[in-house]
C-alpha cells in the first residue's frame, strides 16, 4: 500500500483545496439537510430524530457517490488515472486517496449532524462510537462500489447518470430518513443490497430509536468486504 500517495492525494486535493472549492462543502450538505427539513415539516417533528440519524448515513453515502463522480472526472477529464497507472500507486491506493480527499469536504456536514444529534438529546457515547464504525463501513463500501462502476464506464455522462441512480437507491428508498419498521421485512431485506439500508437500520438501533437488528451489521460488513475486494481485483486498471 502506497501510504505516501494516499496521504498526499487526500491532503492536496482535499484539505489543501478546501479554500478554492468551498462550494462543494455546501453542496455535500444540501441533499441530506433538505430531506431533514422536509421530513421534519411533514411529520410535524415526530420523525426528526430518524432523519437526523439517517442524515449522517446519507452524508457519508453522498461522500461515496461524490468519490465516484470525482473518479469519473479524474479518468475522463484529467486523464489522471492513466497518469497514476504508470507509478507505484495501486488501484486501492488511488481509490482511498480520492475517497479521503472527498471526506474533507463532508466533514463539516458530519460535524453539523453530530451537533444536531446532541441538541436533540439523542447522541450517547455508545451511539457516537458505533456511528463512526458504521460510517467507515458505509464510506468504504460506497466508494468501492463507485470505483468499480467508474472503471467499467466509457464516458463521463454515464458517471453522472449512475451517480443520479445511486443517490436514489442509496438515499431515498432505504430507511435513512424514516423508521425501518415502516417497511415489510422482505422489503427491508431487498433494500439491504444498498449498504445504506443496514447502516440506517443499525443507526436507528444504536441511537435508541428502534430495536438493534444485529444481523444488519453482518450484512454491512459482508457488503463492505465484497465491494472492497471487487474493487481490488475486478477494477479495470490496465485496460484490455
Amino acid at each position: 500500500m502506497n501510504l505516501k500517495f494516499i496521504a498526499a492525494h487526500s491532503w492536496l486535493t482535499g484539505a489543501g483545496s478546501l479554500k478554492s472549492t468551498w462550494m462543494y462543502m455546501i453542496s455535500s450538505m444540501g441533499f441530506p439537510l433538505s430531506l431533514l427539513f422536509i421530513v421534519g415539516v411533514l411529520s410535524d417533528g415526530a420523525l426528526l430524530p430518524y432523519a437526523l440519524v439517517g442524515g449522517l448515513v446519507s452524508v457519508v453515502a453522498t461522500n461515496g457517490i461524490t468519490t465516484m463522480a470525482d473518479l469519473g472526472m479524474f479518468k475522463f477529464e484529467y486523464m489522471y488515472k492513466d497518469l497514476i497507472v504508470t507509478s507505484k500507486a495501486s488501484p486501492i491506493d488511488y481509490m482511498l486517496g480520492v475517497m479521503l480527499a472527498d471526506l474533507f469536504w463532508s466533514l463539516p456536514a458530519i460535524f453539523i449532524y453530530f451537533i444536531l444529534d446532541i441538541l436533540f438529546g439523542i447522541l450517547t457515547p455508545y451511539a457516537f462510537v458505533m456511528s463512526i464504525l458504521v460510517s467507515v463501513l458505509v464510506l468504504l463500501s460506497t466508494a468501492s462500489l463507485g470505483f468499480v462502476l467508474t472503471s467499467l464506464v466509457k464516458h463521463q455522462r454515464f458517471v453522472w447518470a449512475i451517480t443520479g441512480m445511486l443517490s436514489l437507491v442509496m438515499m431515498v428508498f432505504p430507511p435513512t430518513f424514516y423508521p425501518y419498521k415502516y417497511l415489510p421485512h422482505f422489503v427491508l431485506l431487498i433494500l439491504s443490497i444498498s449498504p445504506t439500508t443496514p447502516a440506517a437500520v443499525l443507526m436507528q438501533g444504536f441511537f435508541g430509536l428502534a430495536p438493534t437488528l444485529w444481523y444488519m451489521l453482518y450484512i454491512l460488513v459482508a457488503e463492505t468486504i465484497i465491494f472492497f475486494f471487487v474493487a481490488k481485483y475486478l477494477t479495470i486498471w490496465r485496460e484490455r
Partner: protein, 279 residues
C-alpha cells in the same frame, strides 16, 4: 532501451491497432510519428503498462511489460495524451502529488518539484491554480512531473497537440531537459525533426520506417517538394493538391506561377508511402 517483438493489439470491436510490430529503441529521444489512428497511442499505452497487448512481447529496460508491469511502473513515467493538471491545485502541488505516487513523501518532494518547475520555466506560476494556466503551461506541468520523477524511461503521448507554435517550442525545450530515455508520439513532423535522435514511423498499425531524420530523408536528397493544383508526371494527390519532387536546381524552371516550392520533410515519406499503399 525498448525492445518490442511481434506485438499485436486487437480491440474488442475487432479493430487491429498494431499488427505484429517489432523494433528496438535505444536513442535518447525517439519520436513515434504517424497519422491519427495509426497506432501510436496504443503502442505507448502498451509500453507504459496501461493496456494489455493481444500477443507478442515488449520490454522496457529488460523488464517484460506483460509479465512484470509493476516493475516497469517503477522505472517509467507516462504522460497521457490530453492530460490536464487537476484544476484546483497548483503546479507545485501537482508535481509533488505525482512524486508521492512514485513513492516520495510529500515533505521530501519539495526540492525536486522546485527544481523541475524552474527547468520548465514555471517557477513564477508555481502557486497559481491550474485552471489559471495557459495550455502550454499546463503541458509543461506534466513535463515537470517527468523531470522531477527522474525516471529511466519517459513516455509522452502527443505532448504538444493543440498548442500554439511558441508554446510548442517551449515544451520542446522542457522535453530536452528530461534525463531519461524519452519516447514521444506526435503527428507534427517538424516536432520529430526538432527533437529526435531516432524516428519510428507507423502507419495502420505497422512500422514503415525507422532511423534518424537524416537517414529517413536520404531518398529525397537534393530534392524539393512542389505543390501544385495540376497533375504532373509522377505526382501524388493529397486532398486537392498534387505533390511532386524535383531537383532543387531545376525547381524554379519547373514550377508554374501558382505552384509552391517547399523543402522536403518527414511528411513526404508518408505522402510517398500513402500513394504506394493505394497503388
Amino acid at each position: 532501451m525498448i525492445k518490442v517483438n511481434k506485438l499485436t493489439k486487437r480491440y474488442s470491436d475487432k479493430t487491429i491497432a498494431l499488427k505484429n510490430v517489432s523494433f528496438k529503441l535505444d536513442k535518447k529521444i525517439t519520436s513515434v510519428i504517424g497519422r491519427n489512428g495509426a497506432g501510436k497511442t496504443t503502442l505507448i499505452k502498451i509500453l507504459s503498462t496501461q493496456l494489455a497487448p493481444t500477443s507478442g512481447s515488449a520490454f522496457v529496460n529488460g523488464i517484460d511489460v506483460v509479465e512484470n508491469p509493476n516493475q516497469v511502473r517503477k522505472i517509467a513515467v507516462s504522460i497521457p495524451q490530453e492530460a490536464k493538471p487537476i484544476d484546483y491545485i497548483t503546479p507545485f502541488d501537482a508535481v509533488r502529488l505525482y512524486l508521492s505516487a512514485r513513492g516520495v513523501w510529500l515533505h521530501e518532494s519539495k526540492k525536486a518539484a522546485e527544481d523541475a518547475l524552474k527547468k520548465v520555466g514555471l517557477w513564477d506560476a508555481r502557486n497559481k491554480l491550474a485552471y489559471e494556466l495557459s495550455g502550454g503551461m499546463k503541458r509543461k506541468v506534466f513535463v515537470a512531473m517527468a523531470i522531477a520523477a527522474d525516471a529511466e524511461v519517459v513516455f509522452l503521448d502527443e505532448p504538444t497537440t493543440g498548442l500554439d507554435p511558441f508554446s510548442r517550442v517551449e515544451v520542446w525545450a522542457a522535453i530536452k531537459a528530461i534525463k531519461g530515455q524519452v519516447i514521444l508520439t506526435t503527428h507534427y513532423m517538424e516536432e520529430a525533426q526538432a527533437l529526435s535522435d531516432d524516428v519510428l514511423m507507423i502507419e495502420s498499425g505497422k512500422i514503415i520506417a525507422q532511423g534518424n531524420v537524416k537517414q529517413l530523408l536520404k531518398p529525397f536528397s537534393g530534392l524539393v517538394r512542389i505543390e501544385s493544383q495540376k497533375k504532373r508526371h509522377k505526382s501524388y494527390k493529397v486532398g486537392n493538391t498534387w505533390i511532386s519532387y524535383v531537383k532543387k536546381a531545376e525547381a524554379n524552371s519547373f514550377v508554374g506561377k501558382e505552384d509552391i516550392i517547399k523543402p522536403v520533410t518527414l511528411d513526404d515519406l508518408f505522402i510517398r508511402r500513402g500513394v504506394n499503399l493505394e497503388s
